[in-house]
């Protein structure tokens, strides 16, 4: 199907992205401009950036595939993932943005250093964990891109990967977060409108939702239930209530603390965006994800009724949406547009991940750990080099993707959850959380995520997602170690708005709002 029209559509799309990159590069004067777009993102750019950073290749490829093979019981994923955007803004964004603006945070690691008064240990540990997790995640995204390009152009895996990596790296390196956020706005717009226009056609082609549900119920009556009964009786029936519970925690909190998601809150121009952006991000994202999921159901029905056949592949379900589109639309033109939609979904996460890795390496590891005297120019240069190295390194990993790619992606999110969630929540909301507690909790979370992940994959299946016991261990360690060690100074706790509230109370007798950090002289 690689006709001139399709190639033309995809080429124009790539040119627009590079054009935005070139435009972004002209706005960059400092490292802050590169990493945080000069903290100037407006409401819609910020809100769509939040959605599109999370909305990855998994959304179109994975969600329709999951719908195809598991039916309604996994619909909860389509609530949990959008909720992670809202949670990130509410639980972390409000405080981090406010304090970050005053204290000049570039990354969430700056917060850890400030709150826990630990310039090296906690920054090093969290930055290294962040880079590793982001790299794992990146490999998954690249593979999703190459699936799309291979399907569309019938080109080999390596060629497909190279095209995608060169384009993304180019505009990320030259344009920084300006380019990433504005290309994301374009990509997010294409994704949202594209899914809203194409998915309903696939659903109608399969006979409408009522017919689809009736056919699914015929395959397995539990496919139209809100969850599968426990214990698990088949490979596709893993979404039992206990699994869904740990899945909810992992997705809602794990994605919210992911470095490429949480750092976005530092780039918003104003605090007041956090009033409605959670609701808007959630509703838009839910609508898109439900439509993609229903398209996956529809393709299952179309296949059962002999209207189409998925390819003979281990991951055949991942092709569900693409084959649905091919079936529903006769015009090749639409396939080119659809390819752009899928590419938009994958690339909007990939560029954000690349920039995050570059940032953590240049700012947290190089500038703050090894060479505090480095000039702004030098940090900017290192950041760009790190983006290229990360792109090439993960490309190399993606050439021979591991057999269990989905497992790797969930491993990435699980590790983020076990490592960052407890120290971050503890740091923001519990004044008794101490430096030693945070370091121990982060280290133990990382270690136990590795152990439980390995156990779940290679020894014996756990009844819950492996990140859940790791999270509990991380929590217990934070509480126990914090209570045994001296607390951080009140000045730092006040400056970092630490306490059991999201927004500061406006009560003090002196007329000063509690929790608002004092302006530095």
């Amino acid at each position: 199907m690689s006709d001139i029209l399709t190639i033309g559509i995809v080429a124009i799309y790539f040119l627009i992205l590079i054009g935005i990159g070139a435009w972004g590069s002209r706005k960059i004067k400092t490292t802050e401009d590169y990493i945080l777009a000069g903290r100037s993102l407006g409401f819609w750019v910020f809100t769509i950036l939040m959605v599109a950073s999370i909305c990855s290749g998994m959304t179109l490829v994975g969600v329709s595939g999951l719908g195809y093979s598991t039916g309604w019981p996994t619909i909860w994923e389509q609530f949990f993932v959008p909720l992670s955007a809202a949670f990130c803004i509410i639980l972390f964004g409000v405080k981090l943005h406010h304090v970050g603006k005053q204290a000049g945070y570039m990354t969430v690691q700056d917060y850890f250093v400030h709150r826990f008064e630990s310039p090296r240990a906690i920054r090093g540990l969290s930055a290294v964990a962040g880079v590793v997790v982001s790299l794992i995640y990146l490999v998954g995204q690249y593979t999703a891109i190459s699936i799309v390009l291979m399907w569309l152009f019938k080109i080999p895996h390596l060629q497909a990967l190279l095209v995608a990596v060169i384009i993304i790296t180019l505009y990320t390196v030259i344009g920084g977060l300006f380019a990433v956020s504005w290309t994301t706005l374009v990509q997010g717009g294409i994704l949202i409108i594209g899914v809203m226009l194409t998915a309903p056609v696939v659903i109608l082609k399969a006979g409408g939702l009522t017919h689809i549900n009736e056919v699914l119920a015929g395959v397995d009556p539990n496919m139209v239930q809100p969850w599968y009964p426990s214990p698990v009786y088949a490979g596709y029936a893993f979404a039992t209530p206990e699994f869904l519970f740990s899945f909810a925690i992992m997705l809602m909190i794990g994605l919210a603390v992911a470095p490429h998601v949480i750092n976005n809150v530092l780039a918003a121009k104003e605090d007041r965006y956090f009033r409605w952006s959670p609701l808007i991000a959630f509703v838009v994202y839910v609508v898109v994800m439900f439509l993609v999921k229903f398209a996956g159901f529809a393709v299952r029905v179309l296949e059962l009724e002999g209207a189409l056949a998925l390819p003979e592949a281990v991951n055949a379900q991942d092709f569900a949406f693409m084959y649905g589109i091919e079936h529903a639309f006769a015009a090749v033109f639409i396939w080119g547009v659809f390819a752009v939609i899928v590419l938009a979904a994958v690339m909007s996460t990939t560029d954000r991940l690349l920039l995050t890795i570059g940032t953590m390496f240049s700012w947290d590891i190089y500038h703050n750990l090894f060479k505090p005297t480095a000039s702004d120019r030098e940090v900017l240069l290192i950041s760009k080099i790190a983006v290229v190295v990360a792109a090439v390194g993960s490309l190399w990993l993606a050439i021979n993707p591991p057999a269990m790619l989905a497992w790797l992606i969930w491993l990435g999110i699980g590790v983020m959850l076990a490592t960052f969630a407890v120290p971050l929540l503890g740091g923001l909301y519990w004044r008794r959380a101490t430096t030693a507690g945070a370091i121990a909790s982060m280290a133990m979370g990382l270690l136990s995520a590795g152990v439980f992940g390995y156990w779940d994959q290679y020894v014996a299946k756990l009844p819950v997602h492996f990140s859940f016991p790791a999270l509990i261990i991380s929590l217990v360690v934070l509480i126990v170690v914090s209570l045994l060690t001296p607390r951080n100074s009140d000045r730092v706790l006040d400056d970092t708005m630490t306490g059991p509230y999201i927004q500061p109370r406006e009560t003090s007798k002196l007329g000063v709002r509690e929790g608002i950090p004092r302006k530095r002289a």
Binding site: I212, A217, V224, P226, D271, R272, P278, L279, Q503, R513
Partner: protein, 35 residues
Amino acid sequence: MILGLPDTTAYIVCGAFLVMVLVLLLWGLRFREVS
């Protein structure tokens, strides 16, 4: 049956969506702008 779904599934999924929207709506309404 609602849209071919058992009533319980339809009510649980729609109810969950409404509760989530309501919570985020309340958040927006209770949000205080801090200058």
